[in-house]
């Protein structure tokens, strides 16, 4: 193959944008001197539709097997030229793009140095092309079972969405029954249904679905493998049972911590948290004409959930029980669907909003709550503290990841994000994805969220899983790095440094080294960053399209005598 490398160079004028700065003739005369270049042609506009067919013809006529396109950026036109290569019967990875427009012509004035640079860039492109390798497609057998961790609303919704797409689902819940936190609230923001009703419906749908297997009192003990072939050890009553799954969805949610000490109070019947208030309301406790104070602030401002819950409950107490509701706040964050309206409604209904800035004193006294505070707005005109007496005080709870999230993250090999919640992959990619393909987040385990967002989140997760595991065998382009087993000493450097957990150590006689084992990159989980290739101390790993030899050839070709 190496001996009959025939490189075709196609030069694009980009409608004169390139030739106004550099000279085509000079570049081609230089390029034609290179040993493997068989064909050079220029064109006014290479990405035009008809040019594609022309390139196809020229490839077969001249038996070219490497193509260099000198023109614009790979990110812009690479797709088009790769298609052309496929039409011509070549592997799409045998293409080298030289961005002469963006790197040279657009950014420099015409001068002799630009001429040198343009020739060098062209030579670098040709040098890279000579060493390009074919990248084949491969069929990877995958397991089409999804493990959902957490049997709350998000978990159940995800299980149902996945089952609807033809997956088998194992739903693992650490408690003895499904439902999660939804069972404990009185009303749902943005959903006009009773939580108990909604919950019953979902539990029925999940338990009656033959594709969903519910395992209660179960948690994830250990995990091996990668997308399409995970082995998860589920722990129930101290015994571990392995299950083979293709993808994992984490829907472990949040938990609340009630901490009245932060406000100088101790737990009492009239010192309650928002969750407790929800519980009392759901149980039908009478708040008729009571005087209720609520507080938002003091470190609970990281998420907007506490604000919206407080405003929702304030409005409900005011409308249903005609109670006097005083809402003390440092800030109000109600950005979102209809929440701003809920806030203005609460004001219109007569909920009293008081702003405070740290200068608030709360005291519980014989079943009465006495609040002394200074108003930052009125303070300038009418100085002094104001005193408000209430029957109840409702404090916001801390929102923290549910118990065991840290251990779970360790098992899943994920990193924790802000406030110890599981962190999504960076914002460029889907918000439900984690740094490891095959592990997804649904619901509140990444950030306290709202019930009306859960359905969207569950659908997104299910679609993403379906996109990856669409059949028993999925076809993938084998662009993952490959390992030269003779150089691999199983030092585990790549295994540790892979940000996507895509590397496993395989053992077998086919690996020709002392240890009969080597690192193997999973084509489905690998995202082709090349970090392993750079970290490998033995230089055993090469990333296709960016191999060491290609880059070194590019560097070598840079040398041009002026």
């Amino acid at each position: 193959m190496e001996n009959n490398t025939r490189i075709g160079v196609f030069f694009c004028n980009c409608n004169g944008k390139i030739t106004e700065k550099v000279d085509y003739e000079e570049i081609t005369s230089e390029i034609k001197k290179l040993p493997q270049v068989e064909y050079v042609r220029d064109s006014q506009n290479l990405c035009a539709h008809l040019e594609g067919e022309l390139i196809c013809k020229e490839i077969s006529k001249n038996q070219l097997n490497r193509i260099v396109v000198i023109g614009c950026a790979g990110s812009r036109e690479e797709g088009f030229f790769r298609e052309v290569l496929v039409k011509a019967g070549l592997n799409p990875h045998l293409l080298s793009m030289v961005n002469l427009l963006g790197e040279c012509c657009a950014v420099h004035e015409k001068n002799p140095q630009v001429k040198v640079k343009s020739i060098e860039l062209a030579r670098m492109g040709v040098a890279r092309a000579a060493l390009l390798e074919e990248v084949k497609h491969g069929d990877v057998p995958v397991n089409r079972t999804v493990l959902v961790i957490g049997g709350g609303l998000a978990g159940m919704e995800t299980a149902l969405e996945n089952a609807a797409r033809g997956f088998k689902v194992i739903l693992a819940e650490k408690e003895d029954k499904l439902g999660g936190r939804l069972a404990r609230v009185n009303s749902i923001i943005g959903v006009d249904r009773k939580p108990a009703e909604l919950l019953d419906e979902k539990v029925k749908a999940v338990t009656s679905n033959p594709a969903i297997e519910v395992r209660t009192n179960t948690r994830l003990g250990d995990l091996d493998g990668n997308i399409g072939g995970f082995t998860a050890w589920l722990v129930k009553d101290g015994t571990e049972t392995p299950v083979e799954v293709g993808a994992i969805v984490v829907a472990t949610g949040v938990q609340t911590i009630f901490c009245p000490v932060k406000y100088g109070l101790s737990i009492a019947d009239n010192v309650i948290g928002q969750m407790k208030l929800e519980r009392l309301l759901a149980d039908g406790k009478d708040f008729n004409r009571k005087n209720i104070s609520m507080i938002i602030g003091k470190g609970t401002e990281a998420f907007n959930l506490p604000f919206v819950i407080a405003v929702k409950n304030a409005l409900l107490l005011r409308q249903k029980f005609n109670a006097t509701v005083n809402l003390f706040y440092t800030n109000i964050k109600v950005g979102g669907d209809n929440w701003e309206k809920m806030y203005t409604d609460a004001r219109a209904a007569g909920v009293n909003f008081f702003k405070f800035e740290d200068n608030i004193e709360i005291a519980a006294n014989n079943g009465e709550i006495i609040i002394n505070y200074e108003d930052p707005f009125l303070g300038n005109k009418v100085p002094g503290t104001y005193k408000i007496t209430s029957d109840y005080i409702v404090l916001p709870e801390e929102l923290v990841p549910s118990e065991g999230t840290e251990e779970l993250a360790g098992v899943l090999r994920l990193e924790l994000g802000p406030a110890s919640f599981l962190s999504i992959d960076n914002a460029h990619i889907l918000p439900e994805m984690t740094s490891r393909d095959g592990i997804y987040l649904a619901g509140s385990c990444q950030m306290p969220g709202f019930v009306n967002e859960i359905e969207i989140s569950a659908k997104a997760v299910a679609e993403e899983i379906f996109r990856k595991l669409y059949d028993e065998k999925v076809s993938v382009e084998m662009t993952q790095p490959y390992v030269d087993a003779t150089k691999c000493v199983v030092c585990l450097t790549c295994y540790r440094c892979c940000p996507h957990g895509a590397i496993t150590i395989e053992h077998g006689e086919q690996y020709e080294n002392l240890y009969k084992s080597a690192a193997v990159m999973n084509p489905l989980a690998c995202r082709k960053c090349g970090i392993c290739a750079a970290e490998c101390p033995g230089k055993a790993i090469q990333l296709p399209d960016y191999t060491d030899s290609q880059i070194l050839a590019q560097l070598e070709a840079m040398e041009v005598q002026p």
Partner: protein, 149 residues
């Protein structure tokens, strides 16, 4: 002898720095034609060997441009690149080429103007330092002038 024109290799990550370079191109921002870009999938792909090889092949300066810290497409590739560049600096200092000839920059995809600025900065720095001891073109000329005198 004409003025010394350095040769600088820029290893750019595809997602941020190369996008910034492309943006600089679209914006027609001018920078010195001494920069040769080599596109990489991630700045974490660049290892010390490549940096040193660039010097061996006659580069007067090398810089690695990756995403902003904490913004890497592959989580921590740019931190790895930063560490390797620091290591390369040490090696270059030890062998007498000079660690200041190599640098790490962080750019986001929308920072076209900053890319041009970085190119200027690096060009000026290397120009001040003069040709690299391994730069055959420059040394050859020096030898020739040495012979003549």
């Amino acid at each position: 002898m004409s003025e010394f024109q350095p040769k600088i290799v820029a290893f750019c990550c595809y997602y941020c720095a190369y996008s910034a370079a492309d943006l600089a191109g679209s914006m027609r921002l001018q920078y010195p034609p001494t920069i040769r870009m080599i596109e990489q999938p991630c700045s974490g792909r660049i290892d010390i060997q490549l940096i040193l090889q660039a010097f061996e092949d006659g580069a007067d300066g090398v810089y690695v441009a990756g995403c902003l810290e904490g913004d890497c497409h592959f989580l921590k590739g740019n931190y790895r690149a930063k560490r390797r560049v620091a290591e390369a600096k040490k090696i270059l200092d030890d062998v007498g080429i000079g660690g200041e000839r190599v640098e790490m920059y962080n750019l986001s995809g929308s920072m076209g103007p900053r890319f041009a600025e970085v190119a200027h900065e690096m060009h000026d720095r290397i120009k001040g330092l003069g040709p690299s001891p391994l730069n055959k073109r420059a040394t050859k000329k020096e030898v020739m002038t040495g012979d003549c005198s």
